[in-house]
Amino acid sequence: MEGSEKAGGSWSSSSSCWAWTNNNNNGSSSSEVDQMLLPIANVGRIMKQILPENAKVSKEAKETMQECVSEFISFVTGEASDKCRKERRKTLNADDICSALTKLGFDDYALPLHTYLHRDRLHFTFDP
């Protein structure tokens, strides 16, 4: 598949981290201009699940939501990444995301998220 070459780099993983290696540093390609979105089916499903059963969602509304989510990820990642840089850490982790969410006004998400993550960490550690 030509995807990784088009993107200008590739992923590799160790047991706990993903690392990105650039093929080159010029950074400009058509894939950068295309906006990266989460699949409309997944986004649409989450929207419908929270609405009453007789509700409908227009395709345009789902598309707008896709764009909003990508922007949200970029926005929060930027803040989390700044924190890592200031603290001279190379790896962005889930706690950085929780802090960034609080800092940007999404503190309503931070506590439930923290609970969710710790519950799952527990499963990984103690489940036989």
Binding site: C17, L38, E71, I73, R85, I97
Partner: protein, 121 residues
């Protein structure tokens, strides 16, 4: 038995269902995170970070959807439209960073309101 890594079970459909299937694809989330670098790139991302974002994005989508639904209901509709999403974003301060996404193609009523808000009196 070796315990599976953070993603292997998820991508294959479940480490005995501990994490369950994710409503949003983790690999795609990672790509978007990678794209977000303005100057310095995000170089390394822990395995948990996209999992955290998958959940945060769910909360995000749910909140905007609920607020948009209020707008649709006020117009006595049962179909959520793009304008409802735009109205919900404009009405909520925390979503100010998204205004440019909707203002360029918003309906005239919303655009007018936005212009009025930015006019000097």
């Amino acid at each position: 038995m070796r315990q599976a890594g953070a993603y292997s079970g998820i991508h294959c459909g479940g480490i005995s269902g501990k994490m369950g299937p994710h409503p949003l694809p983790l690999a795609r989330i990672k790509k978007i995170m990678k794209r977000s670098g303005s100057g310095d790139e995000v170089k390394m991302i822990s395995a948990e970070a996209p999992i955290a974002f998958a959940k945060a994005c769910e909360f995000f989508i749910e909140e905007i959807t609920k607020r948009s639904w209020v707008m649709a209901t006020q117009s006595k509709r049962r179909t959520l439209l793009k304008d409802d999403v735009a109205s919900a974003l404009i009405a909520t301060d925390v979503f100010d960073f998204l205004i440019t996404l909707v203002s360029h193609s918003a309906s005239p009523a919303i655009t007018t309101t936005t212009n009025l808000m930015s006019m000097d009196s």
